[in-house]
């Protein structure tokens, strides 16, 4: 009920968003992006990004924004963070920012010295990525192919050994630290693992999206001191992931909304200038109306992103549902905008040289992260309609 009318998107949030827009327009233009990541067509396993720019963004505090003040961060609200990520999506920026912010929310939901210490490192610029998805690509928090074995007794002087493979790890080549989901006898926990720790091998996937990297992270006998590495002791891992899930979904949705807005504006500009049959393309309603539909789908998703972000801060009981709505809406908007952005550019839209494919591929990737639209809606249906079979049980 005390949810603010303005979504808690206040002046500092608007300033951050404006600053990010200006900075990325000059330092990370689409031209520059294309030169950076699309120089070769066979670079599907490479990690191409502007590390100098990243150092500047870190210096500006972009990794610290979601870290609580108690761990030397700025502790800004999720609406402000979604505003920033919209701009990151609009620029299709290759960076570990989204992965790190997602991990930040998971760490915030953990209550341990290891999590606290990693939050401090994040505030100083450490890039972190969650590593826990199993080989089947499950979106469920309980699933993992990594096992954790404790030795040397419980407590602070014990050790933990991780074995297994985490798949589909986002921006793994950019991350300094992995937050690994692993199964111990007591349940699933979360572990802080340095990307360069002995026994850790990063095997890059060949992926479609040129604006990020993804890998399988193999852990073989990775042995760590328990006090420094147990962020969430088993069986507390899934709880922390669930607590952070609304924020992670809202962040991914914000990235897609920002990218979709680029797709809309770029395609609308083309429709204003390209002439066929003696008219600008936008004169024709078979072009005009899909452009309007792109806009309306974006606006639907965007409203839901800020709804979810505001709920996360002010009405946590509703945050999960609203974040799933935002992710479903944004995934569908991303799919539609991607489709129309290529189609309405005609032949040029089908080429490597035209920029639209960069966004098309980033959107396709984001659509499935943490669950696509259909998956979110199945979860929502269980909550809003009741589980399948529930009606019969009552009747």
């Amino acid at each position: 009920m005390n949810s603010p009318d303005d979504f808690g998107f206040e002046d500092d949030a608007a300033l951050l968003k404006r600053t990010a827009r200006r900075l990325l327009e000059t330092r990370a233009s689409t031209d520059a992006l294309h030169r950076l990541v699309a120089g070769r067509v066979d670079a599907t396993r490479e990690c191409l990004w502007d590390q100098a720019l990243w150092a500047e963004l870190v210096a500006l505090g972009w990794t610290a924004i979601a870290v609580p003040e108690s761990a030397d961060g700025f502790g800004m609200g999720l609406p402000a963070i979604c505003g920033l990520i919209e701009e990151v999506g609009r620029a299709a920026l290759p960076s570990p920012l989204v992965a790190t912010l997602c991990a930040t929310y998971v760490l915030r939901a953990c209550d341990s010295p290891a999590a606290e210490a990693l939050l401090r490192r994040v505030a100083e610029g450490a890039a972190v990525s969650l590593a826990g998805t199993d080989a089947r690509g499950s979106w469920e928090h309980e699933d993992t192919d990594v096992t954790a074995t404790s030795s040397g007794g419980a407590g602070s002087n014990g050790q933990v050994t991780l074995d297994g493979v985490a798949c589909y790890v986002q921006d793994a080549q950019k991350a300094e630290v992995f937050l690994v989901k692993a199964r111990a006898p007591a349940g699933v926990g979360l572990y802080v693992v340095d990307a360069r720790a002995p026994g850790v091998t990063v095997h890059p996937d060949a992926i479609l999206d040129l604006t990020r990297d993804q890998a399988r992270v193999e852990l073989r006998g990775v042995t760590l001191p328990a006090d420094a590495s147990v962020a969430a002791a088993p069986p507390d891992g899934p709880r922390a992931l669930r607590a952070a899930e609304p924020a992670m979904l809202a962040i991914l949705a914000a990235d897609m909304v920002g990218a979709a807005e680029w797709q809309l504006q770029t395609t609308a500009e083309y429709a204003r200038t390209r002439v066929q049959f003696d008219r600008p393309l936008g004169f024709f309603q078979a072009v005009k109306h899909p452009l309007v539909d792109m806009m309306m789908k974006i606006d639907e998703a965007r409203s839901l992103v800020y709804d979810a972000a505001c709920s996360f801060e002010h009405e946590p009981a509703h945050a999960e549902l609203r974040a799933r709505m935002a992710k479903s809406s944004a995934s569908d908007a991303a799919a539609y905008c991607s489709s129309r952005s290529v189609q309405l550019h005609g032949g040029i839209g089908f080429t490597w040289e035209c920029f639209v494919h960069l966004y098309f591929k980033r959107q396709k990737h984001n659509e499935v992260l943490l669950g696509d639209g259909a998956y979110q809606r199945a979860k929502l249906a269980d909550a809003l309609i009741g589980p399948i079979g529930g009606t019969r049980a009552c009747a």
Binding site: D5, D6, F7, F9, A13, A14, K17, E261, L264, A268, A271, R272, R279, P280, G282, F283, F284, Q285, V287, K288, H289, L291, V292, D293, M295, M296, D299, E300, A301, R302, S303, L304, Y306, D307, R322, M325, S328, S329, A374, R377, A378, L380, A381, L384, I385, G386, I388, G389, G390, T391, R392, A395
Partner: protein, 420 residues
């Protein structure tokens, strides 16, 4: 237009002022005890479905009571019968909605004629027409569309010929909602055949009092079988020059004010017909009732709520419904809007298409039983959903079709070339 400034602020001001907070409490208290009991007869689904004098009088009494309690016309100046408040109609509308109050019958008056008269009328016109409009003592209708001019509204051919200090008007209006009950009509017509747009003028003309002396109202039957809209034949109707709204030749600009408010994007959108849907049950339309409907419905012999495809469709609609509310909320905050008209101009499309799709899915949930007409005692939910589905096309056609709305959005917001 100095008197208008506080009304212009109405949509921009999101925080609650002390006046608004006190007013909200007043509305809530009044609504707690003053919503009329359901009558023995069935109420229509919406104002333009009113089909009998009995229904009209019931709803008219309700609007008058709400007006006298200060919930209607809150932000209009007292001199014109309003409440003289600032940005309070939005509050009243929210409270009316939350209380599930019936709708107001004078929808064309509140939503279109009122704002148009307020913005373009003379002092005398405002004092004469606004108070009985707000109280529903006088019912209004809108005479824009003609057989040859619908989407291309500026093509109207109804003609007003000047005759000294009077005008003599002849023409043919169609799809005129509420004309069968109306005292007055806002009329868009032609005063010159030379210019398409600059040849238009805008009048107020009498309906009820002119039947048989220049005005004929003939009911048209809708696809639902019900009445609601009409054709209005105007034959040498004589009106005085003080019935003209705005300058001669300025009718298009005046009509734009009407259309802006009709489509929910006008600055005076708030003092319009607020209130709940008012049918027999809550959630008569829209998506929020679909989960319960799915649990209660049988499709192909199994609970509709267990069908994964139906579940997905319902959730898609619930998402759109939530987004609609949140888009309204976001539209109040310029920091989260790229273009000032981008969200307001989507409003009518979003609502009308959501209602249509929700009604369609509601019918699907009923399986075979969705074939039953409301006249059949076995029709699920009294046959409301097939009726609502048919009626929904009224919303996607009236007030600028969905196609025309998309043209407007593409042209005004995305800067695309005009489709004409």
């Amino acid at each position: 237009m100095d008197g208008n400034t506080h009304l212009l602020e109405a949509s921009a001001d999101a925080g609650e002022s002390p006046e608004q907070a006190a007013f909200r409490a007043r509305c809530r208290a009044w609504l707690a005890t003053n919503i009329p009991a359901k009558p023995a007869f069935a109420l229509p689904l919406g104002p333009i479905e009113i089909s009998s004098a009995q229904q009209l009088e019931h709803l008219r009494a309700w609007q008058r009571a709400a007006y006298e309690a200060g919930l209607v016309g809150c932000d209009y100046p007292e001199a014109y019968g309003g409440g003289g408040r600032r940005s309070c109609q939005r509050v009243a509308n929210e409270e009316l909605q939350a209380a599930g109050a019936p709708f107001f019958p004078n929808i064309v008056g509140l939503g279109m004629a009122g704002p148009t008269i307020f913005h373009h009328g003379t002092e005398a016109q405002k004092r004469r027409y606004l108070p009985p409009l707000l109280s529903a003592a006088e019912i209004w209708c809108q005479g824009f569309s003609e057989p040859g001019a619908g989407s291309d509204l500026a093509g109207v051919q109804t003609f007003a010929r000047r005759d000294g200090a009077r005008w003599i008007i002849s023409g043919h209006k169609v799809w005129t909602s509420l004309a069968q009950f109306a005292d007055w009509m806002i009329l868009l017509c032609r005063t010159s055949r030379e210019h398409k747009y600059a040849g238009l003028s805008y009048f107020i003309i009498p309906i009820a009092s002119a039947i048989g002396r220049g005005v004929t109202v003939r009911p048209l039957i809708k696809m639902t079988g019900g009445t609601g809209f009409n054709e209005v034949l105007i034959d040498e109707l004589v009106v005085d020059d003080d019935m003209r709204l705005g300058e001669v030749g300025q009718g298009w600009a005046v009509a734009m004010t009407t259309l802006l408010h009709e489509r929910g994007a006008g600055t005076l959108a708030t003092p319009s017909a607020g209130g709940g849907i008012g049918g027999d049950e809550e959630d008569a339309l829209g998506a929020s009732g679909l989960p319960a409907l799915a649990r209660a419905s049988v499709r192909a012999g199994r609970p509709a709520a267990d069908d994964p495809v139906m579940r997905d469709k319902i959730v898609q609609l619930l998402i759109r419904e939530r987004a609609l509310q949140q888009t309204r909320r976001r539209a109040q905050h310029p920091a989260l809007c790229d273009h000032p008209q981008r969200l307001p101009l989507q409003h009518k499309l979003l609502i009308s298409e959501l209602l249509q799709d929700a009604a369609r899915v509601a019918c699907e949930l009923g399986g075979m039983a969705s074939t039953l007409h409301r006249a059949d005692p076995n029709a699920p939910a009294g046959g409301r959903w097939p009726l609502a589905y048919m009626n929904s096309y009224g919303f996607t056609i009236a007030a600028g079709t969905s196609e025309v709305q998309r043209n407007i959005l593409g042209e005004r917001v995305l800067g695309l070339a005009k489709s004409k």
